[in-house]
Amino acid sequence: MDNTIRVSVTDRDGKVHELDAPTDMGMNMMELCKSAELPVEGTCGGMAMCASCHVYVGSDHNLPDKSDDEEDMLDEAFFVEDNSRLGCQLHLTDELDGLQVKLAPVGN
């Protein structure tokens, strides 16, 4: 299908969700998870200011580098690993077809 990619999201119970994502709507990973009613808060609305959309990237896609804002926010997040990203900063583009992410645990 045109303008649609498939990504897989593993929730915090280990369940894998295969989601079809439009690439022509300016959406990001956080918004995709919310629209699929996965337990992602997206508290700050996508400004890289809350880390409630923290995910681990499991596939070896060539992702855009983290911005300073994203790195700064990850400094205040917990359970951060080398493959940590903020979902709101992962813009859904055709290159991300087949992306695999896992929702990070929620802190206190």
């Binding site: 400004m47 990850l74 917990f78």
Partner: protein, 337 residues
């Protein structure tokens, strides 16, 4: 006891605009906010971010929006209880609400408007086992009085300005030993603070541990040591009197959850007729409420505030008729003092 007509919980954009709309109906307001300044998220999280969907403002900085809302509310002389969290409500024998904050300040009003946004901002607590057992027993999330740390061993975690600034302050003749633990090598604080910390580390006055995180706390009723995991060489145990994790703030619904309100997914259910909750006399407006079709937008919160004060007026003065008056016709008649 602070007496008012509408007690607004949350001094964000919605709460501030409520003051104006209530003022037009000659109702007085008092605002309570857990943060030390008005403005809510706009002031605390993103004051320098532009907002593009405020009608008639093609672009306005969040901080500037707060300043203008304060200016708009000013004629109606709102009261503020800042830096205190609304904790507990009860009703007195005249049917008025008595609201007490975490610092024991009492407020009394016939109407409560919850404009609490995402909730109250509280320090982010790292997910370390048994952390709660050591809170105020060696673990503090906020440095209130640096003298508290005089001649003590202190570990600070975090990579932002508050972590850097306190590290510098405590290392310069206050604490006996200061360790700064940070997730990566780079710091995001002001460049001169970063340089200062590096200089102190080089001089042996700060024990700088980067690519590291605290993973455990130990002690016997009082903090004695912490476990630190370092990327390069595994785990270390460091003896310390205090650990101060500085990971910023995040919002929590907080005590509102215990007020017998109907709550779905961290939001208070309201009737869109007047944004009333299931508890008569308590309303909820802005990001904290939910109803079919809800959009978390500042402009929707303004609308909710406007309708809500009409209903509040009717509750306070059941026998008075309310006629919509246009500010264009009548101007804004503020209160004296």
């Amino acid at each position: 006891m602070i007496q008012t007509d509408i007690l607004i919980i949350g001094a964000g954009p919605c709460g501030l605009f409520t003051v104006f709309e209530a003022g037009l109906l000659k109702l007085r307001c008092h605002l309570i906010d857990a943060l030390p300044q008005p403005g809510g998220q706009c002031a605390e999280i993103y004051p320098k971010k532009p907002i593009y969907d405020i009608p008639a403002y093609p672009s306005i900085l969040a901080g500037e929006l707060v300043d203008r809302l304060m200016e708009q509310a000013e004629p109606f002389k709102p009261g503020f209880t800042l830096g205190e969290r609304a904790e507990q409500i009860e009703k007195d024998d005249e049917g008025q609400f008595i609201l007490t904050t975490n610092r024991g300040t009492h407020h009394r009003a016939p109407i409560i408007a919850i404009a609490g946004g995402l909730g109250c901002f509280e320090p982010r607590k790292p997910p370390v086992p048994q952390l709660a057992d050591f809170e105020d027993k060696g673990v503090e999330y906020i440095i209130k009085d640096p003298e508290f740390y005089r001649d003590k061993k202190v570990v600070i975690s975090g990579g932002g300005d508050s972590a850097l600034d306190w590290t510098i302050f405590l290392a310069e003749g206050v604490a006996s030993e200061v360790t700064l633990v940070h997730r990566r090598k780079e710091f995001r604080g002001h460049l001169d603070s970063v340089q200062k910390v590096m200089d102190l580390a080089a001089a042996g006055r700060v024990n700088l541990m980067t690519d590291s995180e605290v993973i455990g706390v130990n002690g016997d009723g009082q903090l004695k040591s912490i476990e630190i995991k370092t990327k390069a060489d595994g785990n270390h145990t460091i003896a310390t009197d205090h650990w101060v994790p500085l990971f910023g703030l995040s919002p929590k619904l907080g005590p509102i959850a215990d007020w017998s309100l109907n709550i779905t997914k961290n939001a208070v259910e309201v009737d869109t007729f007047d944004y009333s909750t299931n508890v008569p006399g308590i309303y909820a407006i802005g990001d904290i409420n939910t109803y079919p079709g809800k959009l978390k937008l500042i402009l929707c919160g303004f609308h909710e505030a406007t309708l809500m004060v009409q209903s509040a007026f009717k509750r306070i003065y059941p026998d008075k008729n309310l006629v919509l008056k246009y500010t264009t016709v009548n101007g804004v008649n503020g209160f004296e003092g």
